[in-house]
Amino acid sequence: MSIFQKIHYRTLYIVLGLVLLFCLLLSAGVGAVYLSFGEIVDFIRHKAGYDAAAVNPIHEGLFFQIRLPRTVLCVLVGAALSVSGAMMQSLFRNPIVEPGLIGTSAGSALGAALIIVLGKASLFDSISFLGDLLMPFCAFLGGLVATLLVYSFSASLNKVNISIMILAGIAVNAIANGATGFLAYMARDPQARSITFWNLGSLSGANWKIVLIVAVSTFTGLFLALRFAKPLNALQLGESEAGYLGVNTKRMKISVILVNTLLVSVATSMVGIIAFVGLIVPHFLRLMKGSDNRYLMIGSALLGAIVLIVADLVCRVIIAPAEMPIGIVTAFVGAPVFLWLLTRARRSASKGGFYG
């Protein structure tokens, strides 16, 4: 596979962890106001009550109320999207699957847009006790329906038909996007603008409440995803073969789709649609050290977090003091990488394997 083959999994995790830590500090420091590493350490010491060294209270507030929640949210969302991409690729046994392709993102977006526009309407009275969880809840339902639709179309006769999956994905995405567009059209101006902005993804609304909600879904999802690593490995041999190895494939597929929807929809309902992260992060990991799903999931969580922090950093600095939606950055970087992967696929198709 590559020179990374010689490196132990644990070493790679440690390296990724250190890079992540570096990116965290960088992201927390860089922005309209520059915070040095020393300052950040002071803020944390001050908050923890160690010493009251002269910290700039405005900078401290900026750090704790804006920078830190945003950076932590990047970590959580990047991990959620990448782990979901890795899981879905293994479930469909196809390297081009990602949450955006199979309708999960668009369905979640529709579910959340319903709440943005119809928010307090009587339709939602019966479930309004959910409060802050109302939006992620509806996003979950939307994402689940869309994913199940695409999956049920593409997986007939024990075999996933990839061209049907892509076409069904296009159709379901079109329906969901059309409905979201309709809602944006019907909505009054501020709501409509927030839908449009949020269709491109943005982490600018980050606060600790959002971080908490996404943390719960991401950690739950990641924990469950790790439990499916072994059966997903077995599934790579084929469905009957996974069954011979003791995997209840029907039940596992439904569970994996549920976990995937949890990861993607809650993140999407909070930060909007962020494309391509779920596609390229697992790819790089596969190129490095193969496709053991346990490695893919741990690695995706770490590398996905790194990628999203960097992407968000680019959004904040590239047209500062204004800010670009993160979906634009991930699309501009992700799509060319995707095309590069396709040329690899075409070249290695004659050799029999996607990764050659």
Partner: protein, 258 residues
């Protein structure tokens, strides 16, 4: 060991297996033969629990197959299929380790790893244990899969009776490895393991089988408990080719020439 009572299988209106009663004695090497589309793979799928019969019941160790959980079955029986296509790169080691998945939770025990090593040594695939499975040739890949299957039904002290299904296991192998694989399957068979194999090569079947079942048009036409009793008439009926049977003193068993 395994027994089908009135089992049949149909997809829509098409009957793939007519109602059949069939039994497979413990510790024997059973071979199923027949032309393409005779229902061999269907019978194997029903006996291995991959598919439920449309009617009738399969019994494994006198217990209905449908009352076993997937994991209970996985520690008793292994299946080597005809084709494996892996979409993603994964090392040979990891593929073989999958054979031990039914036996461990999160991390494999030292024993699991030792069994995989022994199975790989037996199939002579240790030398590419670190290689990417997707880069292997068809024959190499088949030997790796056989290692995986063997590690799944590896006989340990005090372990139960095991059942090994082979669905055209040698289709990608050269002659030397065809015989090697069959010898290894036969060696397993002598212990607590029952082997049920679908083969296309009648001479390979005669050389290793304790019993041959001939299928045609979704039913079992002939069962030979003594493989030496094979006749040109049976071969003509099943495969539609004329043949001669040669009894040669250098070989304990007869040879079929077409």
């Amino acid at each position: 060991m395994v027994r089908g009572e009135g089992i049949s299988f149909r997809v829509g209106k098409q009957v793939l297996l007519r109602p059949t009663d069939v039994g497979f004695a413990k510790g024997k090497f059973h071979v199923i033969m027949g032309a393409n589309g005779a229902g061999k793979s269907t019978l194997l799928k029903l006996l291995s629990g991959d598919q439920e019969p449309s009617a009738g019941n399969v019994f494994l160790a006198e217990k209905n197959l449908s009352s076993y959980s997937k994991t209970e079955l996985a520690v008793k029986r292994a299946v080597l299929s005809q084709h494996y296509h892996l979409a993603f790169p994964i090392t040979v080691n990891e593929v073989v380790l999958m054979g031990r998945y039914p036996f461990y939770g999160i991390n494999p025990s030292a024993n699991d790893i030792a069994i995989c090593r022994k199975a790989m040594a037996m199939m002579e695939v240790e030398k590419f244990s670190e290689r990417d499975y997707t880069t292997l040739s068809g024959g190499e890949a088949q030997k790796v899969q056989m290692s995986r299957v063997l590690s799944q039904i590896w006989n340990e002290e005090g372990s139960d009776n095991k059942l090994l299904f082979l669905d055209e296991p040698v289709s990608h192998l050269d002659v030397k490895y065809q015989y090697q694989l069959m010898r290894i399957a036969k060696a397993f068979c002598g212990q607590q393991t029952t082997v049920i194999a679908v083969l296309h090569d009648i001479n390979l079947a005669i050389a290793f089988a304790d019993r041959i079942l001939f299928m045609k048009e979704g039913e079992i036409r002939h069962v030979l408990d003594d493989v030496a009793l094979v006749t040109p008439a049976i071969i003509d009926e099943i495969f539609g080719v004329s043949s001669a049977i040669i009894h040669d003193e250098r070989h304990a068993r007869p040879i079929v020439v077409f």
